[in-house]
Subunit: 150 residues, 6 copies
């Protein structure tokens, strides 16, 4: 049976840190579904459609990668894709506590969905989407922090 | 002299984790005042009036429990109720640092008001109001996370 | 019914931080039993008997304080003293995680014994027994860190 | 190709928390090698041979589980078993920081060995081997904390 | 060559904790530039102009202190002032992780700009601008938390 | 007046992480005294004399660096060297809490001695002396983790 994992996030934008986790995840899973959660009430900085295109470019049409947008519970999305795993990256202890909460609630909503964690490589661990948006907004260079050209 | 404790929070909604802390608190205090802080500028997901009714239901009119709404400093509310203690639940280290700050400032505002902490039972520690609102918004089941029926 | 709490520790030595927690605990409990855990295999820096005498001096024969040495499970000691509470001080997040583990295992061993936490006042939060022993060993002054004269 | 993971630890003793992680790991890997690191200089509380027998009992001769003792670098052991993954459990933020260090050094020693983390179920997260030894030493009951009879 | 440091923040308001860090920083640097980051989209509680005046008052026209407002990347501001250092205060572990991220990204944007950290004195560590605004909004006294009269 | 900083540690061994902090510290201080604390009761893995030689080699007789061994309080050593600063590296939140305690006690012992913190570069943050000793003991390669040849 194919091992499918969902890699959920808002990816505003998708960073080198995310790229690192997905590439490591491909050793573990037969398919990784990168799932961009979007909420029509919440304004994004990088539009979902653009981000889907950029992520596709980064992975160069790798057939083990799917990229989707969704606005439902992650457990519902997982069922549609026959995914038994959630893939998540950990950068630091603040991440850990947040992820711990999400993992327990996911387990409560769907006992068959297992959360699997990989640790972000140290050179990417400081990068997060919020800081990248901030730097970009003020005209700073962010190209080396992203796995594609903006 | 009666030992009275304030249990302050926004309780949007009041969860099984909160319920657990109040029940443990009743071993320590003669009266626990559950105090729903609300700020007219800030939109709630569950209205204050509904939440007061639901919490009352959960405690089944226990005479050692009072439920109030307030929009003033917690130290002022404590004085009105002759409360010498603030009761707080700790779930994880992020909670701890936040609570540590609140406790020191409370002490500065009223040196006689002591903050008392109980640790949330592990099966409830992952639950928080933000996650419950998120699940409820997308139509997920939340009944087992709350001490009353919605 | 009298509310009795055990305040367990190795107290090698008992510091101003411990003194602060016990004094706050006296507002909450009718009796606090300061319980020096000692293990005949483990060498202490300050002998148990001396420490019992010094702590007694610090509290000036307060009748709400008992000081005992013990070498058994804390839950067994609690039963002998009809204590329904363990009093613990929290200084920082490392403390919190350790205490969280101890509290859950205590609960497993005796479901009626509740762990109650108070936060150490900021001016005492950096003091711990290990650092005091280190300073004392090299002849540094430690008098202002202890609630008694050495 | 078979996905093999090493689950290294001192397991003094192997707890319900470890049992939980291995069982979750079996969804992800075709074989899990439980590897008891032992150091001839360091005294154990539960002998390695006894622990191997007890763990075998707990898993009831599951053919996807191997149990070995080792005293070499974990990366060397992994090569012998053609393991491309290290399986690790996370209980709290202190665990996370320690594991983060180990994972980076492992990566430095063998770039093909990926560390994979699962979060311990909340009911087991407080249990650790040190506390179990402490309770056992004083004659407290530990049977409900272990996946086998002592 | 003069050692110049930027001390960036939103300072809404500037607190005794900030005052403590700048005073310690003056032992290390020949000039400290207190830089109030402001974003025209984001509403402040205390206007930037008032805060500049109040901070000036607190430092009593010390010639080693400059106070400026800015709305650009901190690395650009640093270049204008020939500052080779960013001065930052640390109060707790949550601060640390945030600062760690900022420091790494700063390094990426300008490899010559070094982040230097001082730990806030314990009596000020619980104070943060958010709590002060909250207390002030409800009419609580905040004068002892600020190095100037409001 | 010369700005002198003590960089204290057991340095068993001195790592690339330590090397990184000292090099950054040289931008801030006119002299950095690398001070190897040793305790005659405590067995080292790498002898003090060897380590002094290796560190000297790493810094290539830089005249702004001094290397000394000491077995007294760090505050006493600082006085002898007219050092007004302690230089310390921070790698993660566990480091932070430990350093916070040390910094407060140092302040208590000598109010004029300021602790200054730099954050270890991410590629070195996982390295610590304990892990290096462990790898070396089992014959693993450690050369790329040290700023000198063993």
């Amino acid at each position: 049976m194919k091992r499918v994992a969902i890699f959920p996030g808002s990816f505003d934008p998708f960073t080198n840190g995310h790229f690192d986790i997905v590439n490591k995840g491909l050793k573990l899973f037969d398919e990784v579904v990168i799932a961009i959660g979007h909420n029509t009430n919440k304004q994004r900085y990088f539009p979902v459609e653009d981000m889907i295109a950029k992520i596709g470019e980064a992975f160069n049409d790798n057939e083990h990668i799917k990229i989707v947008a969704y606005s439902e519970l992650t457990v519902s999305l997982a069922r549609k894709h026959n995914a038994k795993f959630l893939l998540r990256g950990l950068r630091n202890t603040t991440d850990f506590e947040y992820e711990n909460s999400i993992a327990q609630v996911t387990k409560y909503l769907d006992n068959d969905l297992e959360s699997v964690f990989l640790i972000t490589s140290p050179q990417y661990a400081a990068i997060n989407s919020t800081i990248i948006r901030e730097v970009h907004r003020y005209g700073g260079k962010v190209d080396d922090l992203l796995p594609y050209k903006l």
